[in-house]
């Protein structure tokens, strides 16, 4: 930046005010630029990291005028913030030099023991040494991918699958193969067929990534009967199961199903998180892995972040020790159940031509649009109508999903949910009319993973 203005009191302009066309340097010679001098330097894995117009549209979704059914953010208003602030204050006051210092790469030992208590609710029996605390379970996901996946390696994921996982797999240049799911989760026969076909092509899958409870985005849960079947098939083909379970304790009825890790300790890496059962802001998640895998994860974590946040870990540890965290989870369940009911009721009322999953917990319903509609192409129209959702294409690595959309009911109030679905119905009607007017079909080939951003993951 060049010339400053003359002293205070003078008209605050530069001398060029009257003649803005006076260039201050000689004109540049013609040469091409791609506006990024480092373009030829990027690693192969970075080339796919591009913001899309879908991501840009979500900038509008954050405005209060828009009913966002796109967000994956938990509803935190119900948290006892006064209590939490006391807890945090005490942590800093009594253990400040520990909380604010580097900790161990594997994570705070007390917290790791407490994590066992949390996991016991889903049948997991483990040792604190099996637990690796990470900066959110997203980081654990990234680390597991990092230590297992070479570029071109096959990773199996559900169809659809969690967008954050697809992003991590893409960042490591994995070849994602989707396996069909239904109302009861992964279909064992389909898994067997997929693995068989891969084997015949001389390929093995490194990982099977699954969100078995209240799936993001599909809302479905892997049935109790199928869990051992999936594990058996994975074991037979030598595929490590990556069980990602942020929602397991957020079921609306009955007790949680036994975690896959509880049925098979050696064949499963389990990912857990406090983001939905408590709050995401501290960024504390964890992995439970067989000992050799765990050793590598600790080393990988160390080289990524040195150690997870001590301040965050101690805050959560104090919360678990002093507050009724189980009661808080129950309160969340009630809250989200009411919102699920609002969502499902509104869908039945306003979008009878669509179909949708009715989740027994968690945050999401997976809606299939009437035939011919493209949820990605429809999003700009929805934004104009002041409602946002995540197009189904975000949840597939192969361009599928344009006939679906994910609607989340975690954040808006029941009234807002109903209003959002009402607006969405108008959008669907207008789009349907257009589609039938022009006689277009829904599906189109697409080649990129959408990365909508953290607050809509």
């Amino acid at each position: 930046m060049t010339s400053e203005t003359s002293g205070a009191g003078a008209p605050p302009t530069t001398a060029a005010a009257a003649d803005v066309s006076t260039p201050t340097t000689a004109p540049a010679p013609a040469r091409g630029t791609r506006l990024d001098p480092w373009l030829s330097s990027y690693a192969d894995r970075a080339h796919g990291m591009r913001a899309s117009e879908i991501r840009a549209l979500f900038a509008v979704a954050n405005r209060p005028e828009v009913v966002s059914l796109a967000g994956g953010m938990p509803y935190l208003e119900g948290l006892p913030l006064d209590v939490l602030s006391e807890v945090s204050k005490r942590v800093i006051a009594t253990r400040g030099t520990t909380a604010l210092q580097y900790g161990s790469a594997q994570g705070d030992e007390t917290l790791r023991e407490q994590i066992l208590d949390v996991m016991r609710m889903e049948g997991i029996d483990a040792h604190p040494d099996d637990v690796v605390v990470t900066t959110g379970s997203q980081q654990a996901l990234d680390l597991v991918t990092r230590i297992f996946v070479n570029p071109g390696d096959v990773v199996l994921a559900e169809a659809p699958s969690y967008v954050g996982a697809l992003g991590a797999f893409r960042a490591h240049q994995a070849d994602v193969v989707h396996v069909p799911i239904d109302a009861n989760g992964l279909i064992p026969v389909a898994l067997e067929e997929t693995l068989g076909a891969l084997a015949r092509a001389g390929r093995r899958a490194k990982l099977l990534y699954t969100v078995p409870n209240f799936h993001n985005p599909a809302g479905v849960t892997l049935s109790a009967e199928r869990r051992p079947q999936i594990l058996e098939i994975a074991h037979r083909y030598g595929v490590l199961v990556l069980e990602d379970n942020p929602y397991g304790l957020l079921g609306f009825e009955g007790d949680p199903l036994p975690a896959m890790r509880s049925l098979d300790a050696d064949g499963v890496v389990y990912l857990g998180s406090f983001s939905k059962t408590f709050a995401p802001g501290y960024r504390v998640g964890w992995a439970v892995a067989p000992h050799a895998v765990r050793e590598k994860l600790v080393l990988a974590s160390e080289s990524a972040i040195l150690c997870p946040s001590n301040a965050s870990q101690l805050a959560i540890s104090a919360y678990l020790a002093t507050c009724d965290w189980r009661g808080q989870i129950k309160a969340f369940c009630e809250l989200y159940r009411e919102r699920r009911d609002a969502m499902v009721g509104a869908l039945a009322e306003h979008l009878p031509d669509a179909s949708w999953t009715v989740p027994d917990g968690g945050f999401y319903t997976w809606v299939q649009l009437p035939p011919g509609l493209d949820s990605k192409a429809m999003l700009p129209r929805a934004v104009t109508a002041r409602v946002a959702y995540v197009p189904g294409t975000a949840f597939y690595a192969n361009g599928a999903g344009s006939d679906h959309m994910r609607l989340s009911f975690c954040f808006p109030t029941p009234e807002r949910i109903r209003e959002g679905v009402r607006r969405l119905a108008g959008v669907v009607a207008a789009e349907s009319e257009l589609v039938s007017l022009f006689g277009v079909s829904g599906q189109r080939a697409r080649d990129d993973v959408q990365q909508p951003g953290p607050d809509v993951s």
Partner: protein, 323 residues
């Protein structure tokens, strides 16, 4: 250097400028980035620059603050169609850029094209088709007529809007219905025009006390189409600023941009997008009254190619607006 023209007595010190960025259009994200870049460039000890969104808070904030100048850096919808500018005028505030009536004309591609064609500029042959027309006449019949008239390739765009949202270059007749649906996701009216082969150029215009002057043209060479991804993610697009033009070609495209700026009654700054066809004729595509000012945008590239420092230029534009 000529002496600075005196500023009106209402202008105090420090100078208070409010940049409007964001809004609720499909280009909100681009606008936020444009607004922040310009605000950063304008700021200094002597200038108090704030960025404000177009929301329920805006009118109270502007009424209370009474800034010396408002710079609307909104892309799309109410930011570029003149309505926000109308409101700023209602509040009795001064702003940088084209007035509301001219904005409304420039914002609509078909109307802008008609206006510049009347002034003697060349623009690709086109039709303007509202969605309702397809309903009334039957879509397939209208599409058939389009193909007969224009042949392939042709371009389908929403009749207003930027960042190439909803724009499709149709090479295959089978893709035409889908292109219409995509355009209608952004606007109720679609513009269908002949696709011109040629060099894609953007010519920015700035004004000072002497009147409008064209900056060097920027030439856009893209792998594939110059869509949202190509515009805002570096890599697929190569820019030549100044464009690789002969002196005559450079003169011709500048003339067209200046003519568009004048004919449409634009003010302070604008950016005209055009194609220099094989016969050397500049073909007007559209004009922008609030051109993007992000790190990958065309106006800043043109300014730098013209030897300008962005901070100096933006401040000078503010001074021009206050003169």
């Amino acid at each position: 250097m000529t002496a600075a023209s005196p500023l009106p007595p209402t202008v105090g010190s420090p100078l208070r400028v409010v940049v409007l960025a964001g809004g609720m259009s499909h280009e909100r994200d681009v606008s936020l980035r444009s607004g922040r870049r310009v605000a950063d460039a304008l700021r200094g000890a002597d200038w108090d620059v704030t960025v404000h969104d177009v929301d329920a808070d805006l009118i109270p904030a502007l009424t209370e603050m009474r800034p010396d100048l408002v710079w609307p850096l909104l892309h799309g919808a109410s930011g570029e169609d003149g309505s926000v500018r109308d409101v700023i005028e209602l509040l009795g505030l001064r702003y940088l850029g084209t007035g509301p009536r001219a904005s409304r004309i420039a914002w609509s591609k078909p109307i802008a094209k008609t206006a510049v064609a009347r002034a003697g500029l060349t623009t690709p042959d086109f039709v303007t088709l509202p969605q309702s027309l397809f309903r009334e006449l039957g879509a397939s019949r209208v599409l058939e007529a389009l193909l007969v008239r224009f042949g392939l390739p042709l371009v389908v765009k929403p009749s207003y809007g930027g960042s190439a949202l909803g724009v499709t270059l149709v090479r295959d007749a089978a893709d035409l219905p889908r292109a219409m649906v995509d355009a209608f996701a952004y606007a109720d009216t679609a513009l269908v025009e002949h696709a011109i082969e040629g060099r894609e150029l953007a010519v920015s215009v700035i004004e000072d006390a002497h009147g409008p002057r064209a900056l060097p043209a920027v030439e856009i060479v893209t792998d594939g189409t110059y869509d949202y991804d190509a515009r805002y993610n570096p890599g697929r697009t190569e820019y030549f600023a100044p464009a690789r033009l002969s002196a005559v070609e450079a003169e011709d495209v500048s003339t067209v941009a200046l003519a568009a700026h004048r004919t449409l009654g634009l003010r302070h700054l604008s950016r005209t997008d055009l194609i220099l066809d094989a016969s050397g004729t500049p073909q007007f595509l559209e004009v922008n009254v609030a051109p993007g000012m992000t790190e990958t945008s065309l106006f800043p590239q043109a300014a730098i190619a013209g030897g300008h420092d962005l901070r100096t230029l933006y401040r000078a534009l503010v001074s021009t607006a206050l003169a």
